[in-house]
């Protein structure tokens, strides 16, 4: 059993509540640009997909990191960035095909989803339940 | 030919001893770097040339032996006629004919080549009677000047590799270490750490690979004992390393040799090749279950590479930058493996200790400082050269009995020991016994054994400035206190030498020195301020003379002196006019000359050439 984000695009309204929740949790100032999650327009009108780190099985970000700053947190199942080690070369930012490794210009840090320690806040706040976080059999 | 057993080695030694005895008459020509510079090779060639023309009974060219350094380099080239032991100094190629005719064919002594004792002007005939040699106790230098360094047979003939055979056949590694520990042999490279303890620690580190490194990076300016040993007795170094390797379980050894010592590299290479050929290096040495090989790593001119962690990085082909040693290099050294690093002189002592036993060794010297120490006695002393004395000998004995006192009978001012990490000791410390602990207590250091004697014409502020300049240029530049601190100390000494110093500057230097000692990363920085601190401690008056009176009592610091011709003494010989590079001296032949103070750069060339002491410094 593993916990995963479950996304139902049909329910997503692009309201950006997840972004706000994320920003408040991680940056404490609620600026939308500093969120680790962002809804993308799916090409059709009113079709949105919240894009967030998939915690891939063979992650490009980890492979691209030349200083081994991204590590797997056994407790939460998230790949996290050790900001102390990170040298901000942005290799992971460029390597992630989903754009889920982001650069925060204000803090001068590379950020990515860390699953809020195992219980992602964004999923709690999704008003339409387009984004949920559940245990599933893999 | 491979020697496959200790027994075979014994037979060979006996055989070679006989061969060595066969030449009843023998001529020994010192071919250390000093004598070579003075033309020793020409002497050897002249012997060969002369003997090809002239038949001498019972004497062939093979009996002319080129040996390593005798230590008495200043009097070179040195020639010793055996078996009488007649000692000739400053021999020239043109004299060879005479020497062969008189000394070899007719056993006469030629008075004019004999050494004159500077103390009483008497000629001394025999080699061991020369005071320079008679006061010495030679252990590390035992073979120097006796055997030809590039002939392994000669080394075997003087019981070479006997200690190795003994170790391989009758001792366990632990017994070897016990013996060395019991002998209280301390590292001769400067720190004075117990060699036995070091070996024990290294042996106890569980690892498949152990290394032995011989530190031949004699960086201290003014010291050259390691050079002479490596050049004159390379096999002793190798034997010491092999015994160490056996004790700690190492299979690979390195000798790190300074770039400035090309001859040492050649001799060591030859010695290693000979050993490999004779089965003394490689697999199954002397038929025992012991394999060891040695590689030479050449340094490239960096004083900081005398520091163990820097040296190990340099051996690995990297920049010689030290690292902090909270984990000691004995545990994590070369390529992060346990490594024993000892100095050349330390290794040379090892075979003797094994052969004669720890108790014998401990009887030499003083308690906790057993054995002997080699010094290079240089500077303003009459007999300069390499000497070896028992630990605990006083400085006075060394300088006055062996060294023959100060040049021109001038007053003694100080002696610098320990190189750039050591300090200067004044006359009041002359009766200090020379050993690791006493020197450190007096604010200096044993170091690798440089002993530079200074007379009243040496300015102590200038000496401090000189050492700081050396350290600034030799600092690796990694940590701040050493890189920036020593630089600032150097600037301050320059300020004082130029007469712009204040008394506050002395305090400032003392305070900064203290911080450098505490704050630096490696030994270079930690001991860097020693020369400065010791001169401030013992020669504060001289600093004050520079600061308060704007005078340099020794007449060295240019801004504070003037040169003047004393007309009564000047003979008008024109010598100073020719020597002055700045055309500051004018005058006619046989008339007193005059120095134009505006043009004078105060280089002192005129004083150096004036034979009549007609130029005064004030």
């Amino acid at each position: 059993m593993k916990s995963r984000f479950i996304v139902t695009p049909i329910l997503c309204t692009g309201c950006r509540t997840c972004e706000l929740a994320c920003s408040f949790t991680h940056a404490k100032d609620g600026k939308v640009g500093r969120s680790r999650i962002y809804p993308l327009n799916g090409g059709f009108k009113d079709l949105y997909v919240p894009v967030v780190c998939l915690q891939c099985e063979d992650p490009a970000c980890v492979k691209s990191c030349l200083v081994d700053a991204i590590y797997f947190n056994e407790n939460t199942g998230a790949y996290e960035i050790n900001t102390e080690i990170c040298v901000r070369c942005m290799a992971c930012v460029a390597a992630c095909p989903f754009g889920c490794s982001l650069f925060d210009t204000q803090q001068n840090l590379v950020i990515k989803c860390d699953l809020c320690g195992g219980d992602p806040v964004c999923a709690h706040f999704c008003p339409t339940k387009a984004l949920t976080y559940k245990s599933i059999a893999v | 030919m491979k020697i496959v057993s200790p027994k075979q080695l014994e037979q060979l030694a006996a055989e070679y001893k006989k061969t060595a005895d066969r030449h009843k008459k023998m001529v020994i020509v010192c071919c250390g770097t000093g004598c070579l510079a003075n033309g020793a090779q020409k002497i050897v060639d002249a012997f060969a040339e002369c003997l090809s023309r002239r038949k001498v009974k019972d004497f062939t060219v093979e009996a002319v032996k080129k040996t390593g350094c005798h230590g008495f380099c200043e009097q070179g080239p040195l020639v010793v006629i055996e078996p009488q032991g007649t000692f000739y100094t400053k021999v020239k190629p043109k004299d060879i004919e005479t020497i062969i005719e008189k000394s070899i064919e007719n056993d006469e002594v030629i008075e004019k080549f004999l050494f004159t004792n500077p103390k009483d002007g008497r000629k001394i005939e025999k080699y061991p009677d020369v005071p320079f040699f008679s006061h010495q106790h030679r252990i590390a230098l035992r073979n120097l000047g006796k055997i030809a360094p590039f002939d392994i047979r000669e080394y075997i003939a003087v019981d070479g590799y006997k200690a190795l055979a003994k170790v391989l056949t009758t001792m366990t590694p632990d017994q070897v270490i016990d013996e060395i520990t019991k002998s209280e042999l301390r590292g001769r490279g400067g720190g004075g750490f117990s060699a036995g303890k070091k070996w024990r620690t290294c042996r106890n580190v569980p690892s498949d690979v152990h290394y032995v490194i011989c530190n031949g990076d004699e960086g201290d300016p003014g010291a050259f004992m390691d050079r002479s040993i490596m050049e004159g007795d390379p096999h002793s170094v190798l034997e010491g390393m092999m015994i160490c390797a056996f004790a700690v379980g190492a299979k690979q050894g390195y000798i790190y040799v300074r770039d400035e010592y090309p001859l040492a590299v050649i001799h060591l290479q030859k010695a290693i090749a000979d050993c490999e050929e004779h089965g003394l290096l490689g697999d199954k040495i002397l038929g025992a279950d012991f394999s060891f090989s040695i590689r030479i790593a050449r340094g490239a001119g960096a004083f900081v590479c005398g520091e163990s962690s820097a040296l190990m990085r340099s051996v690995a082909g990297e920049v010689g930058e030290p690292r902090a040693k909270y984990i000691h290099s004995v545990i994590k050294g070369l390529y992060d493996q346990p490594t024993v690093l000892n100095n050349v002189e330390t290794f040379v002592n090892v075979p003797v200790i094994i052969n004669h036993g720890a108790d014998w060794f401990r009887k030499i010297g003083v308690p906790k400082n057993s054995g002997t120490k080699v010094f290079s006695l240089v500077g303003k002393v009459r007999n300069t050269g390499l000497i070896e004395v028992a630990m605990g000998t006083t400085m006075r004995e060394i300088i006055y009995d062996i060294g023959g006192g100060i040049i021109d009978g001038r007053p003694f001012k100080g002696v610098q020991t320990g190189g750039p990490s050591g300090g200067c000791l004044p006359e009041s410390k002359l009766d200090l016994p020379v050993d690791f602990d006493s020197l450190t207590e007096a604010g200096s250091m044993m170091g690798s054994g440089g002993m530079i004697v200074m007379d009243d014409k040496t300015c102590m502020v200038d000496v401090a400035r000189y050492f700081l300049q050396f350290l600034v240029s030799e600092s690796c530049g990694k940590c701040v206190p050493c890189r920036e601190g020593l630089y600032q100390l150097h600037k301050l000494t320059i300020k004082i030498c130029e007469g712009n110093g204040t008394e506050v500057d002395i305090e400032k230097m003392e305070k900064l020195s203290q911080q450098i000692v505490v704050g630096s990363l490696c030994g270079l920085g930690k001991s860097g301020p020693n020369p400065l601190l010791s001169t401030i401690k013992y020669y504060r008056d001289e600093y004050l003379a520079h600061i308060r009176d704007k005078k340099c009592p020794a007449g060295v610091c240019r801004n504070l002196i003037t040169y003047r011709v004393i007309p009564e003494l000047c003979t008008g010989c024109l010598a100073c006019i020719t020597a002055c590079a700045y055309h500051a001296i004018t005058g006619q032949k046989k008339e007193p000359h005059v120095i134009n103070q505006d043009l004078c750069e105060k280089c002192g060339a005129c004083v150096a050439v004036c034979k009549h002491d007609a130029i005064e410094v004030s």
């Binding site: 040298v87 460029a94 | 690796c476 940590c479 701040v480 911080q515 704050g519």
Partner: protein, 258 residues
């Protein structure tokens, strides 16, 4: 786990971890200019020195660089004794003589009450404090494009032969981690210039801050086996599209059991 005493307070720490990490965790303000977690501790700035002792040392104390000193049980650590403050003052004073106009050094020195250097200022000051972070990080990344050259007081950081460095990929790790912002670079249009070498930026700097150079991307795809097309994203819209399509597949096919 081991227990150490820091300024009189008992603190638990992992055995073998470096003292500085423990001090930082305890929120003790220890200056360190040459330290970065990504690289091995170096011990060059000497500012992080602390005083250590043990009960059994009978009052004997030692000063060590905390970035390099592994903690062990029973250590008693003092971080702000008079001696240590004096030492830090001296070091900052020396730094100021070398880098008189560097704001980072000025600020730190001011914290310790050193407003200007009491030593002779060097002739041609610049902002480089020779902490070696740039070269060490470059080594760690596997490029080793730049290195320290010369030695002693004349030491400086430079690319080989002082020409455009052949091994550089323009990742900016050196410049971004320089504590005094001494290493200069420019990003203009699609061109990045650093160490006198020009690089082509893969993405438009105007549309996003996600910028790496073509050389870096090529290095990553070759040495780290990341598909080249992960980087072949020359503008933001294209990237979003890819992200979305890949995202769909990944999320729906792999994660949700139907």
């Amino acid at each position: 786990m081991v227990t150490v005493t820091i300024n009189g307070k008992l603190v638990r720490a992992k055995e073998g971890e470096m003292l500085l990490a423990v001090l930082r965790r305890e929120k003790i303000d220890i200056p360190a200019l040459c330290h970065h977690e990504a690289v091995e501790p170096y011990g060059a700035c000497r500012l992080c020195m602390v005083e250590i002792t043990r009960k059994e040392w009978d009052g004997w104390k030692n000063m060590v660089t905390s970035c390099l000193y592994p903690v062990a049980d029973g250590l008693i650590i003092q971080t702000h004794t008079t001696d240590l403050i004096e030492l830090r003052k001296t070091i900052l004073d020396l730094y100021l003589a070398r880098c008189p106009n560097t704001p980072e050094i000025q600020d730190l020195a001011a914290q310790y009450g050193v407003m200007q250097t009491s030593y002779e200022q060097v002739a041609d000051p610049n902002d480089c404090i020779l902490c070696g972070l740039c070269t060490r990080i470059c080594d760690r990344m596997g490029f080793s494009a730049i290195s320290a050259v010369n030695r002693g007081h004349g030491r400086e950081i430079a690319p080989p032969l002082k020409n455009a460095p052949p091994d550089c990929v323009g990742c900016l790790a050196c410049a971004l981690n320089c504590p005094t912002n001494y290493i200069k670079y420019t990003d203009i249009g699609h061109t990045r210039e650093i160490w006198g070498r020009k690089f082509e930026l893969l993405r438009d700097a105007k549309t996003g801050q996600l910028t790496i150079t073509k050389e870096f991307a090529e290095y990553l795809s070759k040495h780290r086996v990341i598909p080249q097309d992960y980087f072949d994203l020359n503008d933001e819209s294209h990237r979003k599209e890819t992200a979305l399509s890949l995202g769909k597949i990944a999320i729906w096919s792999r994660e949700v059991p139907q």
